[in-house]
Amino acid sequence: MSMGLLVDTTRCIGCGACSSACKEQNKLPGKVEEVLTAYTWTTVQPKEGLNVRRMCMHCEVPTCASVCPVAALTKTADGPVVYDAERCMGCRYCMMACPFEVPKYQWDKAVPVVGKCIMCAGRLKEGKQTACAEACPAEATTFGKKEDLIWEARTRLRSKPGAYVNHIYGLSEAGGTSVMLISSVPMDKLGLKSNLPADPPAMRTWQVLSNIPDFIGVWGVFLYGVHWITARREQVAKAGNHDNGREDR
């Protein structure tokens, strides 16, 4: 059963209760910052008269999980994309590759790890909802089964056509995400990436990587074949010279 979050920017009052609850839940030090950092996993940004909540989108086919060389990032069946800090060696490919620019790093630490929202994976296991959804006083963040949330979002768009732009952000972005946003203002004006392909970026590298075993075989045989031919030619040339020499004698 895959869970998710629906963020309705038209309902958000910008109180920041979600960010505070997140800090408490995940024991993150410091104050809530304006942008995502390794210590602020969710934040609310005022944009175009709306309040836009930013957090990990928890992709269906997460780019971060596909690029991580040690599989420190994984997508769980419940929906969250979780991070195993004990495995991470700090290559930061996840940060470079994430289409939503979510994973952040502890640049100030001598032993740094990545920080990002894990959709309260522990709470979900206990059957609870995320700390942010529980804390939200305006029902701007709704927790639930992803399919129910899509239904809910469509109902809101349909019942109040003037109040929303007809776009559920996260339905198809980068292959779809477990976190979705709806808004009264086009998404690109809210600072959300609008140039994302509908296919998961991970497919582009997998297309290459999945062909490597075949390639090794063909390339190896080809290279040995070249060596075989050139070496044989040299032998023949040598033998030819030898014979000629004998005839001359």
């Binding site: 040690v70 599989a71 790093y105 032993v111 740094p112 790890v113 994302l196 970026p201 990587l209 190896g220």
Partner: protein, 388 residues
């Protein structure tokens, strides 16, 4: 090759360049200490918006790319059987090995927790290009060490292991070419996953092939440059009869690469961003002029190819253009999407420059000890000295 005989052997004496290398090495060590006590933020200009900088763009991408001369020349000599190039294979393998050692040291600084580098061997993720890169670095560095080992074995008089390696040279070279093909192209594959971030002048589904072919071109350029530099250091003449055909190979590789880039830009409908002549457009033009147009145009003329000055100049431009390309892909082309500008910090530059200087010093040292050049300063040259 008889031109190479005219060198005048000199005893090693620590001079100006050794002093510079020593100072840079000490500066590198200082930065390393700060980096491991205070964290990456204290020494680099890297940030959450720009997590990969000079150490990936220059040290990793260029270090690996410019080591491509090694697999190209071992393939030419051992697989294509063009034995006349044999005299320059050893210095090329040594450069390749040092290049990879340089990459590993740089990676140890760039990784957040380098003491966990072995995790790549234990925890597998075959979906990750970085996983492929990690394995290629490990395996190809081992292959280069094995390919170079007979020189060391012979020096210390261990003839049996040297003979074993010599017997195994064909499979070893094939393994090296396969690993290099995978590794060079995988560095391009690293950027396949950022279609929404990398500028259209550089992004292409063919990035792995772009990286592979440009590395062959620039790798050959590097072999020419290195022959020139070691020639200067040891007062030998250039082996023009070997370098002239290599320059032809460089023209073909860079020519194909240039066409592929042109096709990629056409497919991306990105010609407009060149004509706009903005930041990306200018950097692109500089890169492509230096790295492709000038070397290909100049080296197409036999007269210029056979002239050492033009030859070395063109090879230098090809290498410079290659470095610019890798920096453009890793930095210039990623800046717009990141919403920030990245300039490496002084300490980041010190690390890169310090590592290059150390690599060159180790090369110079190895060349003096081991018989690497056919008439180098090794044991053979002394005999020649007596004979002369």
């Amino acid at each position: 090759m008889n031109t190479a005989m005219t060198m005048t052997p000199k005893r090693f004496r620590p001079g100006f360049w050794s002093a510079i290398a020593a100072v840079l090495f000490l500066a590198f060590c200082t930065v390393t200490v700060i980096r491991f006590t205070k964290g990456l933020g204290a020494v680099t200009n890297l940030s959450d918006k720009f997590p990969w900088g000079l150490w990936i763009g220059f040290d990793l991408l260029c270090g690996v790319g410019l080591a491509a001369g090694a697999f190209t020349l071992t393939a030419v000599v051992h697989l294509f059987n063009l034995k006349k190039f044999e005299p320059i294979v050893r210095p090329t393998i040594l450069t390749g090995f040092l290049g990879y050692a340089f990459v590993i040291v740089a990676l140890l600084l760039d990784l957040g927790q380098p003491w966990r580098i072995w995790h790549a061997i234990v925890y597998w993720n075959p979906h990750s290009v970085m996983f492929e890169v990690a394995w290629c670095v490990m395996l190809y560095t081992s292959v280069l060490a094995l390919e170079f080992s007979p020189v060391v074995f012979e020096y210390f008089g261990f003839h049996t292991p040297a003979r074993i390696i010599h017997r195994l040279i064909t499979p070893l070279v094939i393994l090296g070419v396969i690993l290099s093909t995978l590794h060079q192209s995988s560095l391009g594959s690293l950027y396949l996953i950022v279609p929404s971030k990398l500028h259209a002048l550089w992004y292409s589904p063919m990035l792995p092939l772009h990286f592979y072919i440009s590395a062959i071109g620039a790798g050959i350029g590097m072999v020419i440059l290195e022959s020139y530099l070691s020639g200067r250091a040891f007062h030998r003449h250039l082996e023009m009869d070997l370098l002239e055909p290599l320059a032809r190979g460089m023209v073909v590789a860079l020519g194909i690469y240039g066409l592929m880039r042109l096709q990629a830009i056409r497919r991306n409908h990105a010609f407009g961003s060149i004509l706009e002549f903005g930041y990306e457009g200018k950097m692109f033009l500089l890169e492509i002029t230096l790295g492709v147009i000038l070397p290909v145009a100049l080296m197409s003329f036999r007269k210029l190819r056979t002239n050492p000055d033009w030859l070395v100049g063109s090879a230098f431009m090809a290498v410079l253009g290659f470095v610019m390309n890798r920096l453009n892909i890793s930095i210039t082309g990623m800046e717009a999407a990141s919403g920030t500008r990245y300039m490496p910090s002084f300490m980041e530059i010190i690390v890169s420059v310090g590592l290059v200087a150390t690599g060159m010093a180790v090369f110079a040292f190895a060349v003096r000890i081991f018989p690497i050049f056919p008439e180098g300063e090794g044991a053979k040259s002394l005999e020649m000295d007596k004979g002369a």
